[in-house]
Symmetry: C2
Subunit: 401 residues, 2 copies
């Protein structure tokens, strides 16, 4: 039998990096590669109780559910969104299989092959892969520590007539960057004027270390819900647990209901038992206290990683000190190739993600991403020791200290 | 804000029928419309125990999982498939969000806009909607009670150069039809000769009333697993419970692994906690005894519906007597419009699905689908009484007895 795949399959080729990282699974390699939450904080007993309460509710809990998601959970999320100045009704919300599916559904109902999406550079790898799979062209906008450069954004909007801008404005993946309010407002103004939809991807917003600062979401700064220039998406994967794959999107009712119809076609609905269990969990569990615990733990790990890196006394290596989220973004001296360094690092027993695949254009081969949330103190000490050794070797090989 | 949706969104327009059926939710209307399993047989206590065992396994159960699915569950399914003469390795299997997502993923990696898929006429409504959403042309092949007409199939393969044939060969939705072995072999031969991939959708195969008959799957009749002309998909939705949304596809490793890469892009993975719980359930639960219970109950309901319908003494109304699955397919006298009849039926307190939307072409407005699995004895007696009254009215209006 000769198979003849669709043409977009060419865009799905497996990456060398993914193959290397696969090799580290189940091995002694300490991985700073994945964007994984720390397992030790998962509320497993609360989750057990939650599922038990769902089953107490009887057999109906195992029946087919609604495409747009379990209503009580949507009501709970709406109430939480309201606390963040995002006022939405049920018709403005869809539950999805992780927020990744929300990004995909919006792509499917809003973008055609050949359409342009403006993105930060670098940006979330899996979004770039999705755009590529769907034949959507991701065009990067210049930026700095405060977000996109608004002049370049305006110029690119004019030049490329994009239909959408994709941003992770708070604790970005991979850079850990937080947009200033001024840039947020500027992005909104430019997009509204030009009828460009904004997809605000906010998986990490709750993982904020210093609560004295305020990072309003784009959705909260815009008119809402209906007529909004923003579709906002988030997830329980980072605050509760990833295994339940429950994310959501909010936005204009027409946009969301179109996503619902697409979801009906692609998978009918996501696991309704998981949505019910999450609702039960959230009603018998102090999510804010739980998030406070995670925040403190993650901040401690971030600080440890920063200390361990700083201790190396490197002069030509830069990294951010994240205010939240899950990642350090590191820039090595020019000439160091992080993908080559990964092969060596895995031999030494540590893994990371090279930065190149996060770029829509002009990848910087000397960048890499380190996750600080998943690895405990002991392993992080070992991991940074191993990594430092390899970084030392590679810097020396390009004539750097 | 002006929104500008993708062009395939036009194919997602909500149907009048769906709107009518929405109105019946939570009302006193007895619905024979949905393809729902009977809730009273859901193994809820076994499911509770299964989830509890997953949580006993510790926090790791709440972490991210594999895109292709939880390995022990795939191994369990592989062993079960082997009992049905379908020999597959793990690389030949992907777990999906219901089998609906398996159908979609295969469409996405195998078909481009404008490609042709050959289908039975009528066939599964949601598959047709999916093809339409993806810009894929569904071309019907003539058929009878034994399956597709092989001459017409050969002619259409020659004429349309389809890339795929989509079939539900065992207890088809909506017709309840079972393909003969001869037709199965003929379909395979024609498709292999012409390099046409077959998507065998088998959600109902386990719901067989008379076990003395044997209906081998297309996949089992073909070479397998690698190089197979068949991708086979099934689900736990009908045998265990739909809420966990766990289906699977098996086929050639290259085809399946391409689906895995697409799934990585669209939602990363389906609920892994549900996959773990299913595995625990299946290891502490007699699935075959459970299926035997459901079969017996469904056969009883089918027989009751057949008796109640037969009792009406209609001479010009035809329906199948299903050998398994979930549906009766009924043909009313020419001139009766089932969509109009639905409005009246809902007033009387009973709902069904009109047959027209199940046709890729040349819809028969005088057909309808009745589900017999979800409604208990008492309600079925009421439902058929109400339905018969309405059918009587409509037949009279077109001058039939």
């Amino acid at each position: 039998m000769e198979y003849s795949f669709s043409k977009n399959v060419d865009a799905l080729t497996s990456s060398a990096v993914r193959e290397i990282l696969k090799l580290t699974q189940g091995s002694q390699v300490i991985s700073l590669a994945g964007g994984l939450p720390a397992e030790e904080f998962f509320p497993i007993e609360a989750m057990r109780d939650a599922f038990n309460r769902v089953f107490d509710g009887g057999n109906k809990s195992l029946q087919y559910g609604l495409t747009d998601g379990y209503i009580p959970l949507r009501e709970w999320i709406a109430a939480r969104m309201k606390q963040k100045n995002m006022n939405v009704d049920l018709a403005n919300m869809i539950l999805t299989t992780g927020s990744q599916q929300a990004v995909d559904l919006l792509c499917q109902v809003y973008l055609d092959e050949g359409d342009v999406v403006l993105v930060e550079n670098p940006t979330y790898l899996a979004a770039l892969q999705l755009f590529q799979f769907r034949g959507i062209r991701a065009v990067p906008v210049e930026g700095d520590a405060e977000g996109m450069d608004l002049d370049d954004l305006a110029a690119k909007v004019k030049q490329y007539r994009p239909k959408m801008v994709y941003v992770v404005p708070t604790f970005a993946n991979p850079t850990g960057k937080v947009w200033s309010v001024e840039r947020r407002l500027g992005l909104l103004r430019i997009c509204r004027e030009n009828h460009v939809l904004i997809l605000e991807d906010d998986p990490y917003g709750e993982l904020q270390f210093d609560l004295s600062e305020s990072y309003p979401t784009l959705f909260s700064l815009d008119q809402h819900p209906n007529g909004s220039a923003v579709v906002y998406t988030s997830t329980f994967s980072k605050t509760v647990a990833p295994a339940l794959r429950t994310g959501w999107a909010i936005g204009d009712a027409q946009v969301i209901q179109t996503m619902v119809r697409a979801k009906q076609a692609v998978d009918l609905h996501s696991s309704s038992i998981d949505q019910m269990a999450l609702f039960q969990l959230l009603n018998h569990f102090d999510l804010d206290a739980h998030i406070a615990t995670i925040r403190a733990a993650y901040q401690e790990r971030m600080q440890l990683m920063d200390d361990l890196l700083s201790r190396q006394g490197w002069t030509d290596i830069k990294w951010n000190k994240p205010k939240g989220g899950m990642f350090f973004w590191m820039e090595l001296p020019e000439g160091v190739k992080a993908e080559e360094m990964l092969v060596r690092a895995v031999q030494e027993g540590v893994a990371f993600v090279p930065g190149s695949p996060f770029y829509a254009e002009q990848p910087k081969a000397n960048t890499l991403r380190l996750n600080f949330t998943h690895t405990n103190r002991e392993n992080m000490i070992l991991a940074i020791d191993r990594l430092s050794k390899v970084i030392g070797e590679f810097c020396q090989s390009v004539g750097q200290p």
